[in-house]
Symmetry: C2
Subunit: 113 residues, 2 copies
C-alpha cells in the first residue's frame, strides 16, 4: 500500500516556495506547495491539465484569470486547463496547499506568461 504522511514531505526554503511531491502517476500528480511569507508561485498556465488547489494551512492570495481573491484553510480552488493562475502568500504565517494536476503537466517554456 502506497501512503504518504504529509508531515514527512513538508519542506520550506528561504529562497522560494517548494513543490513537494506526494504522488505522481501517469494520470495525476499531487503535491504539497509550501510558502514562507512573501513567497509566490508565478502566474502560468497548463494547456491540457486541470488543477485543484486545497488550502491546508495559512492564507493564499490566488489570481485565476483576471480575478484575485484570498482563501484560508478549508477552501478549494479550480483552475481549468488553459487558464492563467498564480498564488502568493501575503500573510505573516506559512502557507500550505495540496495541489492536484490531471493529467500531469510539466511546465513548458511556452506556457510561462
Amino acid at each position: 500500500m502506497k501512503t504518504v504522511e504529509f508531515k514527512s514531505v513538508l519542506r520550506y526554503s528561504p529562497d522560494k516556495m517548494q513543490k513537494n511531491i506526494v504522488f505522481a502517476t501517469d494520470r495525476l500528480t499531487t503535491d504539497l506547495y509550501c510558502f514562507e511569507p512573501g513567497q509566490a508561485q508565478r502566474p502560468h498556465k497548463h494547456v491540457e491539465s486541470d488543477k485543484i488547489y486545497v488550502v491546508l494551512e495559512g492564507t493564499g492570495r490566488f489570481t485565476i484569470g483576471r480575478t484575485t481573491r484570498e482563501f484560508k484553510a478549508g477552501t478549494s480552488v479550480l483552475v481549468p486547463a488553459g487558464e492563467e493562475h498564480g498564488v502568493i502568500n501575503m500573510a505573516e504565517e506559512r502557507l500550505v496547499l495540496f495541489v492536484v494536476t490531471a493529467p500531469p503537466a510539466p511546465l513548458k517554456p511556452e506556457n510561462k506568461i
Copy 2:
C-alpha cells in the same frame, strides 16, 4: 473563479456514507467522503482511473488490495487503477476524506466486487 468551501458541502447521512462533490471536470473529480461511525465504502475498483485519498478528519481503515491499515488526518493513500479498495470508519468520531479520481470514473456494475 470557481471555489468551494469544504464546510459548505459537508453532508452526512445516518443511512450510508456520503460522497459530496467538490469539483467535477472532464479530467478529474474531487469529492468529500463523509462517514458516520461504522459506515463504509464497499470494496470496488476502477479499471482506468487512479484515486488519491487524503484523510482530513478522523481515522479511516483502508483496504487496498490485500492490505488493511488505519490512517489519521494528514495521510494520503494512493490507489492505482485496477486495484481493489475500500474504507471503513471503525472509530467513534466522524471520518472525512478528500478524494481525487483521475480521469473521472463512474462506478460500473462490472467493477463491483
